[in-house]
């Protein structure tokens, strides 16, 4: 009975937070325009760069990067910064004094973000492939599996980063922004960051491999543009699954530990007046 009540609470919290995220995203026309335009323009710019240097067969990498940038930027990364926004305006303490599990709030934010990002990703795909048609050889099942595992591991990373806001304020936001740019570069959204064709030295590739987005992008490129069967990406999928599990475990532990630390040190809420 208690388990059922807990599951109901978890589901209702997650669903309602996703609903809030979707409604808020479409509540302001300017945000809709920005969400649609930024990934589209940056991927078109990268695709143009590839085309103008005689590498038009790689333009598809830029389109795929634009699709994933939409998810990475709007879905998962902003999960942490939205957590901070909630804290700044006093809504975060309403979550905390309720019985709602914080993990359900975060999953809801994330799922809402995914739903809100689908139009942007679709726009990048359609317009990108219209202007830069690139031969693809996908197995859609493998693509879907890779996509889901990539998002799961990115969600877990977002959850871990969100936990920092329980104990820190502006410091966490600065850290978030600083490592966000580094991840954008190292993960190779628009180019292969690891393996053959990577511009990075081997040591940097090792560091880049620790980022789930790097592995996810590498696997997606293989699944969409290359052989399209599971044997070419099984190692990446296994790695993504392990990363997702480890990061989820760490995120859950960090949320609990840092909430307790926040209660001890008085950093859970900011004074609004």
């Amino acid at each position: 009975m208690k388990l059922r009540l807990n599951l109901t609470l978890w589901y209702r919290t997650m669903y309602s937070r996703a609903w809030v995220r979707v409604r808020s995203t479409y509540g302001e026309p300017l945000w809709v325009a920005v969400n649609l335009a930024v990934p589209l323009l940056s991927s078109l710019a990268m695709a143009l760069l590839y085309s103008s240097t005689g590498l038009s067969k790689f333009a598809g990498f830029a389109i795929l990067g634009g699709v994933m940038l939409a998810f990475w930027g709007n879905v998962l990364w902003s999960m942490a910064s939205q957590f901070n926004w909630d804290k700044e305006v006093g809504i975060f303490e309403i979550y905390l004094i309720s019985p709602a599990p914080i993990s359900a709030v975060l999953v809801g934010m994330s799922l809402g973000g995914i739903l809100a990002t689908v139009p942007s990703a679709a726009l990048v795909t359609i317009i990108g492939w219209f202007f830069f048609p690139t031969p693809i050889n996908p197995s859609w099942t493998v693509v879907l599996l890779t996509f889901v595992l990539t998002l799961a591991s990115l969600y877990a990373l977002g959850m871990l980063l969100s936990s920092l806001y329980l104990a820190y304020g502006r410091e966490a936001e600065s850290l978030n922004n600083a490592i966000g740019e580094a991840i954008n570069l190292l993960s190779g959204l628009y180019f292969p960051a690891i393996g053959a064709g990577s511009p990075f030295p081997f040591a940097v590739q090792i560091v880049a491999s620790l980022i789930p987005l790097t592995i996810g992008m590498d696997a997606l490129r293989k699944a969409v543009f290359q052989t399209g069967n599971v044997s070419s990406v099984w190692f990446d999928l296994a790695l993504l699954a392990v990363m997702a599990m480890v990061l989820l475990f760490l995120g859950d532990k960090a949320l609990k530990a840092l909430e307790e630390r926040g209660r001890r040190q008085g950093t859970l809420v900011v004074r609004l007046k």
Binding site: L5, W19, V20, G27, E28, I97, S98, A100, R264, L268
Partner: protein, 328 residues
């Protein structure tokens, strides 16, 4: 009568690299069901810290507090479903979502069913006169209606104890009155405890069954407003003077003066000083001191004691002077 909120020796200090601040210093309290309980003190006295501890957001450095018998430090899972909180300073909700949508979202944090939510929102919006605005987006609402929504949000889970931190701050008279009537009704009719932190003395007198006066993290007294005025309050001698005196010590250094507080009308250059005096002789001494200082008395009158005089009697200064001291 069930005791809903209990605190024993609750203390809280904050440490930073540059300073240590004691926000609460050994607070003892017992608050009952159906009670509107006020904690009255100037900004920085420790009211918000106390609410944060009781609402499980902050751990006490020492001492012990319970909500309906559950320990605020160790039994948060049992406390959180039965409490709620609202602040006059918080954002009402998500701007691009209607008041109803926001209330539905916050009800889901407590796992409310559709039927329960519909019944609660109908009752709350009716009692807070929010029905006409319930389907408007939050950014379309005036400050008063946003605050009504915030108050409705704090009751959406049918809580046993509700913490209110300055709930009527910066509101117009009508909205503030409506919210106060609502809070009293919720305490008496629905058997809730309303724990109100405020520095609004008129509000405290109007709705609180009992009041704890807090200063520098300590509860100085805890009584009904009537008893506080009867036991600690003395009629105030009020003088309107020009120019404003350079320091309040011109009054407080005189024998027979229990305390003083002043407000300044900068446009007119007139200071209104409230003095809690022990006898008529003290008034004569005040007039003499003002005359010697070249300060003109424009008018003077006697005022029956309010909670402000109680605070001045106990602390020797008014809220404004104490807030200035704390800030500096």
């Amino acid at each position: 009568m069930t005791t809903t909120v209990q605190a024993r020796g609750v203390a809280r200090s904050f440490h930073s690299k540059t300073s240590d601040v004691t926000a609460l210093d050994g607070v003892d309290l017992d608050v009952d069901e159906c009670e509107v309980f006020g904690v009255l003190g100037p900004n920085g006295a420790g009211k918000t810290t106390l609410i944060r501890i009781l609402s499980t957001l902050l751990l006490p450095t020492s001492g012990h507090a319970t909500i309906l018998g559950f320990d605020v430090a160790k039994e948060v899972d049992k406390i959180r479903p039965i409490i709620n909180m609202a602040s006059g300073a918080e954002r009402a909700g998500y701007e691009f979502i209607s008041a109803r949508g926001n209330l539905w979202f916050f009800s889901q944090l407590y796992g409310a069913s559709k039927e329960d939510f519909e019944a609660r929102v109908k009752s709350l919006s009716s009692r807070l006169e929010l029905e006409k605005y319930i389907d408007k987006k939050v950014y379309e609402l005036s400050t008063g209606y946003r605050q009504r929504m915030t108050i409705a949000r704090a009751f959406i889970n049918d809580p046993r104890v509700v913490f209110m931190d300055e709930p009527t701050i910066a509101l117009d008279v009508m909205t503030a009155r409506k919210i106060r009537e609502f809070l009293v009704g919720e305490a008496k009719e629905s058997k809730r405890t309303i724990f109100l932190a405020t520095h609004n003395m008129a509000e405290t007198e109007a709705i609180c069954d009992r009041v704890a006066i807090i200063d520098r993290g300590r509860i100085l007294v805890c009584e009904t407003p009537e008893n506080l005025k009867r036991i600690y309050g003395r009629p105030a001698h009020v003088v309107e003077i020009r120019p404003s005196p350079p320091s309040m010590s011109i009054f407080t250094s005189l024998p027979g003066i229990k305390g003083a507080t002043s407000t300044l009308d900068e446009e007119r250059g007139v200071a209104t000083v409230k003095l809690v005096v022990e006898d008529e002789d003290a008034i004569n001494r005040v007039n003499m001191a003002l005359s010697n200082a070249g300060i003109r008395v424009l008018s003077s009158w006697r005022q029956e004691p309010t909670l402000e005089e109680v605070f001045v009697s106990l602390v020797g200064r008014g809220f404004a002077e104490r807030e200035h001291e704390i800030a500096s």
